[in-house]
């Protein structure tokens, strides 16, 4: 296994820039590579992305493997798979990291099975065991009720990493690195599953992932009308509205508002959970909030084990007075 060296991270591109997850992975990859005394490389895939290679270097890559191809304009499983497979063959890394994103969730398992190697999805902690020098891969299991640390018995050691679990390095434009163009031999005939159409169901206002304040509603708010009140509160606080799964499943709000294990991961300063019981799968998406506040009529609800402030009561009676007072305090 000594032929495998260094760390390779997939640097995802979004709207013509390195995505936040790319910077987080570069930060993590750089740290792991330093502990191993090896190099950190980035894989950069897309159309017209070569210019971003310097950016990846500024954020911690020693080398950037680029597949710049019009076919990679948008994510297509079969092509990204072929390109990443090619880069791994060329780079022969001992660790490969992808983000637990829409792309990573789809690509990482196929890639791992193609390379006949093990994979841990949705890691929240990564470190190097000082004795064995193996990658310790820690991830939530049982819906977030427990955490497990895995090691790989095959190479490369692969993991996907949850958004916001890792810290980017400071951008340093003076950092030096090498850019390697990889000919992946992609052709349209490789596409077996083809994205023919993309539909955006965008919600106005601040994106959940970026919001400093989130007002979350659960099944306990009873229906779509209550979300109007939640929106008002979010607006006063300059925040965004999120939800647990039931309001999304019942179409009270768009599915893109779902917070949790299988929804979005959010890390606001303040999360106000209204009519949410605090199931582990929900908390998996918001336990990184600095402060959780709960309004719930059941004093036994698990959310009170997670919150720092709470009101036991019917939100229909608590919320109007709360909103009025908040408006008065913040002057809006």
């Amino acid at each position: 296994m000594s032929d495998y060296k260094g760390v390779l991270v997939l640097a995802e591109v979004a709207q013509g820039k390195l995505a936040p997850i790319a910077l987080e992975l570069l930060g993590a990859g750089h740290g792991l590579a330093q502990q191993l005394g090896e190099q950190c490389s980035a894989a950069l895939l897309g159309n017209g992305v070569t210019a971003l290679a310097q950016e990846a270097i500024a954020y911690g890559a020693d080398r950037v493997y680029v597949v710049d191809d019009p076919l990679l304009q948008d994510y297509q499983s079969d092509l990204y798979l072929a390109a990443m497979d090619k880069i791994i063959t060329e780079a022969s890394p001992q660790i490969v990291l992808l983000g637990q994103t829409s792309i990573g969730r789809d690509l990482a398992p196929r890639l791992a099975f193609r390379r006949q190697t093990g994979l841990s999805m949705d890691c929240v902690e990564l470190s190097i065991d000082p004795e064995t020098r193996l990658l310790l891969q820690t991830r939530p299991v049982y819906g977030g009720n427990a955490r497990a640390t895995f090691v790989s018995e095959s190479r490369p050691q692969m993991a996907t990493v949850r958004a916001k679990a890792m810290t980017p390095l400071e951008r340093d434009a003076s950092r030096q690195g090498e850019v390697v163009a990889v000919a992946a031999g992609l052709s349209p005939s490789m596409i077996r599953a083809k994205v023919v159409h993309r539909v955006k169901e965008e919600v106005e206002g601040i994106k959940l992932e970026d919001a400093q304040v989130i007002v979350g509603g659960g099944r306990g708010v009873g229906g779509p009308e209550a979300f109007k009140q939640l929106e008002e509160l979010a607006r006063i606080l300059g925040g965004a509205v999120g939800a647990s799964r039931p309001p999304c499943d019942s179409n009270w709000v768009p599915a893109s508002l779902q917070i949790g294990l299988t929804g979005k991961v959010v890390t606001p300063e303040l999360y106000i959970a209204i009519g949410i019981s605090g199931a582990s799968q929900h908390m998996a998406g918001c336990s990184g909030a600095r402060n959780i506040v709960a309004i719930n009529k059941n004093p036994e609800a698990n959310i009170f084990n997670e919150a720092s402030y709470g009101v036991v009561g019917d939100f229909r009676q608590v919320l109007p007075a709360f909103i009025a007072k908040v408006r008065e305090l913040v002057g809006k």
């Binding site: 829409s102 196929r110 006949q116 299991v141 994205v195 159409h197 402030y309 007072k325 913040v330």
Partner: protein, 266 residues
């Protein structure tokens, strides 16, 4: 149309958090006896996706499950919902595996079944939340995959799948045979009918062992793993919630706002 759905039996993931403990000495999960075994929820939705296609086009649905501990009335639920056949992979040699060895055994079972147009899996099993067996099976069989489906239709020899993405969805066309993983956005799975439940009493599951699959012991179960569990633990919680006391709910609301102001959160 021939469809195969992979389903896993898991402890009810919606049971209260306190029912899931870790035994520090053995480093194993200890699940409270009050927690019922269920079909992993996304797998029930995978069954539902197959049933909707069967309703529209006809065909046969084979349910495939690996695990020795399958409880008959639980694992037969997909049959009661309308699936046709149940194959259980039950063998000590297949136990204790990781995603790799599980997908390996399931892929071999699917090869043995032979005829298939679509394979359905859940997006992740609600015990270990690994999220990779579906894509793994597809890769091992060399068929294309579409993950996180919220809608599946079939026409002109291909499947048209709506795939959930963070800001909406994508429409993906895929040639058959293909593997599709299903997400909760697909909608509620149907309830078994009484007739369905009665009918399943007569259906005997087919049981296959590692030998029936013709797989090498070194690739299965514990021996075939590519990952090893080092440690299992409960995340630490601070759990110090300040509950607002007041004479009326409205007063509690006001006091909460004042409290948050005091804590500089507003």
């Amino acid at each position: 149309m021939n469809m195969i759905v992979c389903v896993k039996q898991v402890p009810d993931p919606e049971a209260p958090p306190a029912s899931f403990q870790v035994d520090a000495a053995s480093g194993r999960m200890v699940i409270a006896p009050s927690v019922n075994p269920v079909i992993s929820p996304f797998d029930e939705q995978a069954v539902e996706a197959a049933l909707r296609l069967k309703d529209a086009h006809g065909g046969k649905i084979t349910v495939l499950s690996l695990g020795k501990d399958a409880v008959p009335h639980v694992i037969k639920k997909p049959l009661a919902m309308g699936a046709d056949e149940l194959i259980l992979l039950q063998d000590d040699a297949l136990e204790g595996g990781d995603s790799w060895s599980t997908a390996f055994a399931l892929a071999h079972a699917i090869k043995k079944i032979g005829q298939y147009d679509l394979i359905f899996c859940g997006r992740q099993a609600a015990d270990w939340d690994a999220g990779q067996v579906g894509s793994g099976i597809a890769e091992l069989l060399g068929v294309p995959s579409v993950t996180l489906a919220r809608k599946v239709e079939v026409s002109d020899g291909k499947a048209v799948v709506e795939r959930v993405v963070p800001d909406g969805y994508e429409v993906v066309e895929v040639s058959l045979p293909a593997l599709i993983t299903v997400s909760n956005e697909l909608g509620e799975p149907r309830y078994p009918t009484l007739r369905g439940i009665m009918a399943t009493k007569k259906i005997e599951p087919i049981v296959w062992t590692a030998a029936d699959l013709g797989v090498e012991a070194s690739q299965c179960g514990v021996a075939g793993r590519r990952t090893r569990l080092l440690k299992l633990f409960k995340p630490v919680k601070e759990g110090r919630c300040q509950l607002i006391q007041a004479d009326s709910p409205a007063e509690a609301g006001e006091k909460l706002a004042l409290k948050l102001r005091e804590a500089k959160l507003l």
